[in-house]
Structure formats: structure tokens, C-alpha cells
Symmetry: D2
Subunit: 354 residues, 4 copies
């Protein structure tokens, strides 16, 4: 058996542009599909169905076999409906934010069908990754699925999504900074082996955006860069075969908040704050991260949300138990202590948390 270069799955179809939804039929037809099922996330149908239907009249070969709203992201419900697809379905298209995409992605995975990801917002890297966040036995759980076969991003839609989604996306991108630092730290302690290729991708994904000039985070090129960065982040995890290059202690804090807080904030919002905190703990690229989150308005936005310092304290304590097999900074008691002190001593955190 010969030693081969590492083979990585990447989406075969990627379209990121201003009017992608209006070319939906044409794009899927060109990609060779003729019979698909659409799954709309909550509240998404009125936003997107008209353009999709319109795009189909010009592309008669593509047939919509079924057309569902997908609302419940519990594994039980997904499993019991996944195998009721029409015969001859060739692909499942998910249109929505995180939750709707996750449901559709998992249905495709269970059926061994290609998944076409059509995000309506870019609040995190889920639209371009192989994983899903579902409820299993009432518990939010990250489960593996498969890389999307295609990703179609209509920048018009994404730009007009509520501002919290954009900030969430930025927060998720920033998390690569502490996540990669954690990963290398775990390697230095003999706990794992870092994949340098995944690290490089993760770093390129964040560096190209934090160094990008822009005047408004809603401007076309900035949004496009967010999409590209989150896509690269998905690939980095695929290369690594784990979420490590994109998810370290800052993600553990966010997962802990999801368990502790009654009404958690958007994933990327929590992750963004936690990323800043972890950079302080790691004493790594603090200035860069503070500058970026400050100038984009992320911190100002967070300051309006009423997130509580106390919740973060409890989340820090809970964090290591979320993934007991990892060895991040937060798995060390002294670093948890340091993190909790920084919640009080850091000026920025003082301003945005209450």
C-alpha cells in the first residue's frame, strides 16, 4: 500500500456573489443536478423561495421534488423524518442560518446524499464545515456529518441579515487566534499532534481579515472576506480531522455558557468575547484582537447585550469538563484563575460585561 499525500474533501461547488440566489437553478443545473429537495430554516421561506422559484422557470431541467420547513434540530426528530425523502432525490439543499443548515446537512448525511449549503447569514463557520450542532437527548451536541458538496452564498442576503449575525461571524473568525494557540500548547504538552497545514489555513483565514482595510463592515468586499474566512476555517477543520484548529478554550467557554445561561447569545458573539479573554490569558496578539473588535464595533455591540461577568466566571469553571480529553489553557487551574481575574481587571471587559 503506497504512501499517498493526504486527501481532503472540499466543496466541489462554491459560489459567492451578489445575486447568487437568482442563479440558483442555473448553478445547480450546471453542477449536474436534476432532482433536489429544499429545506428552509425557520422564517427563511418568504425571504428566499421567490428568487429560487423564479430562477427555476429559466432552468427547466431542475425539479424540486419536495420543499420542507425544518424547525426541530433534535436528532430524534431529524432521524425519524430523514428517511421519508422522495425516491430519486439527488441532493438536499439547506437554506437558512445555522440551525436550518444543520438540520438539512444532517438529513443529507444520514441519506448519503450531497448537501448544498445556502447560508442566509454567516454567524459562524457551520455553512462550510462537516459538523452539526444538534440536540441529542435534550443536550446540545456537536456531531460529525460531511463536508457540503456545494456552498452558495448570496452576499445580498447576507449583507442584509441583522447586524448581530455579522458580529457573530467576526467573533467566530477571531476564535482561530486563541484556538490555534491552545492547540500548539496541547502539542507542547504531548497531548496531541498539530497539523501544520490546518494551522496555516486557520491563520490565513483570520489574518487576511484582521489586516483588511474597510470603511463599513457591511461593505461588499468585507462581507465577502468574512465568507471566505469562515469557509477556510471549515477546510482547516477538515484537514485536521477535528475542530481543534478552529475551536479551543474560547469555544469551551461558549459551550459552557450555552449550558449555564437561560438565554445564550449567538454562538459567535459569545466566542468573540471569549476569544478576547483567552488572548489576554495567553498573552498572545491581544492588541490586534482588541483593535479589530473595537474598530468593527463588535465591543460596542456586545456592550448593549447585558452579558454578565458572573456567567463567564461560572463558564470558565465548567469549560474543561466540556471536553475532558483536551488540554487547553483552561484545563489548567491557574489559567482559569487568571481568566477570572481578567474579567475584573481588564478595562474592555469591564466596559462590555455587566
Amino acid at each position: 500500500m503506497k504512501r499517498q499525500a493526504h486527501e481532503v474533501s472540499i466543496p466541489a461547488l462554491l459560489e459567492v456573489g451578489d445575486q447568487v440566489l437568482s442563479h440558483f437553478g442555473e448553478l445547480l443545473g450546471k453542477a449536474g443536478f436534476s432532482r433536489i429537495v429544499l429545506c428552509f430554516g425557520e422564517g427563511i421561506r418568504p425571504l428566499c423561495e421567490p428568487q429560487i422559484v423564479q430562477s427555476l422557470t429559466e432552468q427547466t431541467q431542475l425539479e424540486i421534488l419536495d420543499n420542507r420547513d425544518v424547525l426541530d434540530n433534535s436528532l430524534e426528530v431529524i432521524a425519524s423524518t430523514a428517511f421519508t425523502l422522495p425516491a430519486r432525490t439527488e441532493a438536499i439543499v439547506g437554506i437558512g442560518g445555522g440551525k436550518g443548515l444543520d438540520i438539512a446537512k444532517y438529513m443529507a448525511f444520514l441519506n448519503g446524499l450531497p448537501f448544498i449549503s445556502v447560508p442566509t447569514s454567516v454567524a459562524h463557520d457551520g455553512f462550510a464545515s462537516s459538523g452539526c450542532s444538534l440536540y441529542v437527548d435534550g443536550r446540545r451536541t456537536s456531531v460529525p456529518a460531511r463536508m457540503p458538496y456545494g456552498i452558495l452564498v448570496d452576499l445580498g442576503l447576507v449583507r442584509n441579515s441583522p447586524i448581530q449575525f455579522l458580529y457573530s461571524g467576526l467573533g467566530d473568525i477571531l476564535s482561530k487566534i486563541p484556538a490555534v494557540f491552545d492547540w500548539r500548547f496541547e502539542e507542547s504538552r504531548g497531548a496531541t499532534r498539530v497539523n501544520d497545514f490546518a494551522v496555516m489555513m486557520a491563520k490565513k483565514s483570520v489574518n487576511s481579515i484582521v489586516r483588511m482595510p474597510y470603511t463599513d463592515i457591511r461593505e461588499f468586499f468585507f462581507i465577502k472576506e468574512i465568507v471566505d474566512s469562515l469557509t477556510l476555517s471549515g477546510i482547516a477543520m477538515e484537514i485536521a480531522g477535528s475542530s481543534a484548529p478552529a475551536s479551543g478554550s474560547e469555544h469551551l467557554i461558549s459551550h459552557a455558557l450555552d449550558q449555564l445561561v437561560e438565554r445564550p447569545q449567538l454562538h459567535g458573539i459569545q466566542v468573540g468575547v471569549a476569544s478576547y479573554l483567552m488572548c489576554l490569558v495567553q498573552e498572545h496578539r491581544v492588541e490586534r484582537v482588541r483593535k479589530f473588535l473595537g474598530e468593527t464595533g463588535f465591543f460596542d455591540f456586545v456592550a448593549t447585550l447585558g452579558m454578565k461577568r458572573e456567567d463567564f466566571e461560572r463558564a470558565i469553571d465548567l469549560a474543561p469538563s466540556i471536553k475532558p480529553s483536551r488540554r487547553t489553557y483552561l484545563h489548567l487551574p491557574e489559567m482559569r484563575e487568571k481568566a477570572k481575574q481578567l474579567l475584573h481587571s481588564d478595562e474592555t471587559l469591564g466596559r462590555i460585561l455587566s
Copy 2:
């Protein structure tokens, strides 16, 4: 036959660091190799053999079956020596600049063996790509081979390589800007189909470096970024299945210069100048490219080389015939005209060409 996400080969082993050569034996041992052949490029052996040998004494499992200097990059010579490897060779390691790596990479390809790429300079993206530049029947020819199985970059070595190699690397990175623009242009004319994923990688590779702050192009993090960018460029070509995302009209000019000029400059030097020219022709990101090539000292360096405006004129005329099947800007007569006029009218070009 099910539709699968696109599978892309990436190096299984990537190490970029300060003292990589001193860990050579350990790194290859960990990667599972026990019997290898070393190929040194011209003049490289005294520079690198001692560290490699030293690294082996601590790693006794790894055996060097053979140890060659590879000097002649004609396909004829490579083909006639490639099949004289010792029995049970598991991998071929090439140590050198472009030419030495190309020879070793091609020997590995002909033998169906993994290739480990150890660049001593990063004058272009060849250390991380699947292609080789060889002489076939006395003519410089780009031939396909295979993605390196591993890439080991000793940043200490690379930083101390002559300055022209670093400028050449920068020029090669910059070429993604006009190359991608050409590729999209060809698609708009119906001549090809762009792979958006490859485009994204190519753009990330160049954007993360042109936006990077630095004080000296020889500083550690800047060199590392050059290496990473060139590596991503190799991957972008692999995804595309062609050199298009990294090579457009600016590369055609360089290839033409190779044919026309008695003593061509380094590939990336020629490509860098041609990239600036093509950005002017395409009226695309001129400011960014001029600023970057100016501030890094690239233009000043080029000004010392005595490159001739007249050679560029002839190269522009020859360029489209180098790859007659493409449809870049330079394949249009009016754009060739525009390019030739810019050689005279642009102030920067006026300064650096004679």
C-alpha cells in the same frame, strides 16, 4: 456512482520553523519513513548535509540509501537515472532551490514514490506544487508531476538565502492578483470555468501578505508568511487542476522572456515586474501592488538589474503563443498594445527598466 465532494491532495507533512533541518531525522522517522534517498541541488550539499547527518545520529531508524547531487534538469537525463534507485527506497528527499527540487520531484514522480520537499530558498511556489519545470528537447517545459508528500522549510536557511530569492518569492506571490483576474476574464468570455475555491485560496494567499505589517522582509514572521502564501498557491493550483489560479498573462511574459533573453532573471523577479504591468493593463489593484512592491524594496532591487524595456516589448508580443489555448488579457491585440504603451508611460516602470 455517488457524487462526492472534490478530493484534493495536500501534503501530509508540513513543517515550517526555525530549526527544521536539525530535526530532519526525527521528523521523517515520525512520519514513518525508514529508507530514503537524498538529492541535493547544485551547491546545496555543503550548506545542508551536516545538519541532516547530525540529525540522523539521534534517529537511528532512518537510513539514507543513497545520496546524490542532482544537476541536470533535462528530462532525458532524469529519465535515464530515475530508475537506478536502490531497492526498497521509500521516499525521495529533494534539498535545494527550484531546480534541484524539480529534479528530485520528477524522479519521485517517475518512481511513484513520495517526495519530500526541502526548499533552501523560496523564490517561487514550486516547492509546494505538483508541477516541474524541466528541459524537454532543449526547451524549458512545464510538466505535471505530483504534490509533495511532505514539505519541510527551515526558515533559518531561507532567511539567509540571497535577497534576490526573497524578492522572487514576493513577485511570484503577487502574480496571483493579475492571474486570478485573467482567469475570471477568460470565464467571462466563455473560454473556461473558474473554480471559486481555488480563486479564494489564491486570493487569501496574496491578501494575507500584502496587508501584513513588517519592518524588514527578512524578519521571521514575514518569511514564514511568504512560505505559507506560496504553499497555499500550490494548493490552489491543485484544487483547480491547472496552474490558472496562480499563472496568467504575467507568467506568459516571464516564459517569453526566458525564451528571448540570453540571461533571464529569476522567475519571480520577472513575474513580479510583469504582474505590476498586467495590473496596470487590467486597471485592477494597481495601488496596492505598487505600494507593496515599492515598500518591500522590490522595485529598488529590480532597478539594479538592468532589465530592458525592449525585451518586455518582445515578450508581450510572444506571450499569447506560449499558451495558445488560453484567453488572457494578453491574447487580445489591443491589450498587448496597451501593455507596450504602459512600458513607456508608467513612471515606476520607467524607473526600474532601462
Copy 3:
């Protein structure tokens, strides 16, 4: 994107031999595993655990993180227990007949982990295929999963499994004959495209066994040939990307029986009878199939089971609705009629059905 030869997943590890279970620890250790979870099918633990445990004492690197009995093959139950694996589990090993293997295979699939298949009997090709047969909402459903990473067959175990399992295995192998004929028939009607490679594998799998000399179906070499044939059948489906090369109208009859009959027979027993019937309908290789099933004792065995002609009649009527998108012989009314008449007119069927 270059056109590549078709890539097919095959098990990386295949061991078929007399004492495989006694080398369990050594085999998994050599394959690079160090932390696994064992799943025993119903009644299997006392049969196999001692040898496995014994094999581990000599191979201390391999750690059994968990050790479960898997009894319930409803998707609901599997899904709710699948994500309770110990951290750092590297592979799931299923030991059992069809049902236990299916549960363990699906748990591995849901976790994205390699699955090691250790069949204790070879009643059908499930131990070597990517599919699973589970209960979804109370209905037996074929769902896709992933090719086993490894297959370990202890021929000693398999030889000593009850005789009905061997006959079931033979029946499942024979089904390739009418299945491939159906598939080609569907292609001739424009309903699908046959993959000639999958056809070839399916045919080799059955031809090598029907032409094999033997004196006792329990003899070592004959059992080994059964295992090999069922393994090839799994690969044929993988190549085809569907079950078509191994499952046609004869499988539809068996699936229909499962729905209609209170206590269905073993899958391969039903399939074997239905295969003979369909060969009669297709007027294809009848002599060969009758001879083989006669000489191996399959028909005599079936004659003791009290299977009812009437159940087959109803199953024939139901068959096309099981997979409405296919176009097998049984999807034509006149062929269903012919099949039902043959139930009465064929001498062999007269003897074995009641």
C-alpha cells in the same frame, strides 16, 4: 478539475483465517489502534469475549475503553446512545451476526469513527458493506453508513455457526445472478446506467463459488470462499454507489416477506428462494442455480421450514412498491403474473414451499 479514475473505499484491514479471534489484539495493534470500544451482538459475548481478552494480554498497547451489548436496532435507540462513547475512542468493533454488526456499524458511522467488523456468521453481505438494516419509526429500513475499515473473520467461529446461517449466506450470494440481470434490464429500458465494473465484481463473486468443487459446505475452503464472495459483493455495491449489483427483484420479494409474514426467515434464505424464482422468470441460468442450491442442500433445508407459497404470492404483488423508482422484472405486471404461475408450476418450488 482533472478527470480522475474512480476512487473506491475498500477495507484497509482484511483477515480471514482459522484463528483470527485469538490474534485480535495483535491485529488491531498492528493496524495502529490503541483505544477501542467493543460492541457484542445478542448472545455473542460468551462466545467471543474470552478469546479477545486472552489475545489482549499479549498486546498491552490496545485498551478496551468500553464494552457493550448492543441489542436494539432501532435508529432512535442507536442515536440516543451513540454519542456516549468514551473520549478518545479510536474505533468501534462490532462482534456478532447481522443485527449486532449493523448497530455497531451505525454507531461508528454517526461518530465518524472507523468500524471493525467481526462477523460470527456470514448469513449475508452486511459484514462487508456500507449499508445497515435498522428500524426507523418501527419500519425495517435500509440506511447508508460507511464501509468497514477492517473485516476480521474467524473461520472457526463461522464454520460452527448454525447451518441456517451458511445457507442464508449461499442464498445471498446467489442473488447476484438475478440482481445483475435485473440491473441490465433496467438499463436496457433507459431507467439507469449500469456500472460494468460493479457487474464484473458481482459476477466473479458468484461464479467463483458456484463452480467450486467441494464435498461439504462446512469445509474450510468452501467457507472461506463464501466469506470472500460476500466481501466482493460489498465492494461491488460500493463501486456502484448503490445496492443494485447485489439486490434486484429477489431482494424486493424478501423485503416484502419481511413486511407480510409474522415470522420471516433469515434474509438470505428468503433471498435464495426468491433468486431461484426470479431466474425462472428471467429464464436465465436456471440450471446452474437449481443445481447449486440442490447439491449444497439448500433446497432440502428450505423444505423443512414450512415457507408458504401464498406468502410469496402476496410478496410478489407488494415487491414493486418497495422500491418504486426501480424498473426490475417484477415492476412489470406480466412478469409478476409469470412469477406467481411459476410458484405453482415449477417442480422444485412445489417441493420446498407448502
Copy 4:
């Protein structure tokens, strides 16, 4: 990096039938090709060009960009002509016996293009394997290339090829018996690790044919079985990542004969005789092999060729040095002695050698 099942390349296109050449245009068109280059082996053009041309008039999308006779199988000549293909060539089609196919296959390999294999005879498994036999520096050398993308076998052509080609094909199929035995022998001596999957395929390929009933070796189904067996043999080598499952000591004897004898016989003829001899040496399946080669007329045919016992003696002595890193039966002095004695003592060998 997750552990994945082993990925194997198999031809994406396989057509084996009576009139395949007459459907050439249609088959390649359906497979998505529009611009190809044809390479005819020596003497093949008049035999095949008319049907191909005829098939194209009905399939106007497929364009023949170039149309060559390929005669010289020295690597030097192939390398110097390989890179003169027309721009935009999408695939290279080789039409011929072994030599013509090897040249075309290697040209495709050097260009990174898909190769379509159209054998006009089936004298060995080269039409379905990734390897080539070329002259390098005047020495016949086995070099790696790539699995054909497609295999089109016109059984009409193959059936009407001279009888020695069919016997050669049979001899090459039989060689799997001693080759697999050698491979297992090498494993038992710790010299290598056998891939059980490759062994299974190799065995299925030979067993399905030696057990097949036939009345005339030129009959349609027998020829088809030969083609299928040789194709499986190619796949077995691909799975193994080496030629070991299909090539052991019997192939070494044949390679030695090629070096020693002025006018060697066809590869498979030599291999067939050597396979019988090695089965005697290995005391393994002698009866089966003798019966098959006797009944098919292989031995009678060989008896007419004047092959010399003395040449075999010298070849046996030379054999181990052909592949010094292997450890087959013939690498043991006592087995070479035994083989040489058998040349004299065995009745069948006495009859067919002179």
C-alpha cells in the same frame, strides 16, 4: 487526521462487449470527453481506425485532435514526444496490444491526462494495470504509471486475435496461483506484509476461470471471462500498491528469459510455463494447473514453439537477481535446484520443452 478506509483507483469506464469499437464515439461522448488523441500500436490502424471513424460520424461532439502511430517503447523517445500533444487534449486513447498500450499509457501519465485503454488482444494484464513495460537505457524496465481511466474491450477483435495471444492471457492469469503463494511465503519469512484484499481479488480472478466450463477457448463467454480476470488482476495490484499479488517467481523467470533468450516468447506464454513449474516447486495446486493448461490446449501450443529446457535453467539461476529485494521461493538456492531438477523429471515439461 482521521483514519480512512483504503481508497483505490478503479477505471471509471469499463465496457466489455461484442461491438464496443462501433460504439467508440458514443461511449467516449457519454463519458464526457470532447477532444482526444488516438495512439495506434504497430499494425493496428487498418484493423481499428475504420470502425472508430465510423462511430464518430454519429457522435459529432467528439473531436480527434491527433492521430498517431506509436511504435517505439523506449522511455527516451516517449519522453521526447509526449509533450507535443495538441493544446486542450482531454484524454489519450491507446489502441493496440501490449506495446502500443504501454506507450500511450505512459504518454498519458507524463501529461497527467486520463488514459483510455482499448486492447486488441489480451495477452497479459497490462491493459488494466497501472504499470508499463518500457525500454530504459536499452533495458526492459517495469515503470509505474497510472490506472486507466477507461477500458474498452471489443470482444470481437480480441476473439479474432491470433491464438498465441489468448494462450498468453491464460498463462498470465494462471500466474496468480504461484505469485500469491510466493507472496504469502515472503510474509511468513517476515519479508513483507500481504494485503488480504489483494490476495482475495487475485484468487477470485484465477479461480473463476479455472473452474469455468467451456467448449472452445474462443467462445464468447470464455473470452469475456479472460478479460474480466485480467482486469481484476490489475485491480489486485492497485490495491496492493505493488505487483506482488500478480507477479512472483514465475514472472522473474519470464523476465530472466527476456534477458537471456534472443527471441523471447510472448510474456504470458513464458509466464504460463513458469507458473506450472513453480506450482511443482511449491507443491501447490499442481493438478488444477496441469489440468487447465492441458485441457485448454496451452501445453500443446507451447510444444510447437521449441522453447528450450536449457534456457529455463539459466533463467532460474538469474531470476532472484531480477528483484533482489524480494524473497520468493526462487530466492532460496535449494528451490532453484529443485526447479532445475523438475525441468528434467516432470513429464509434462519433458513433453513441451526441448
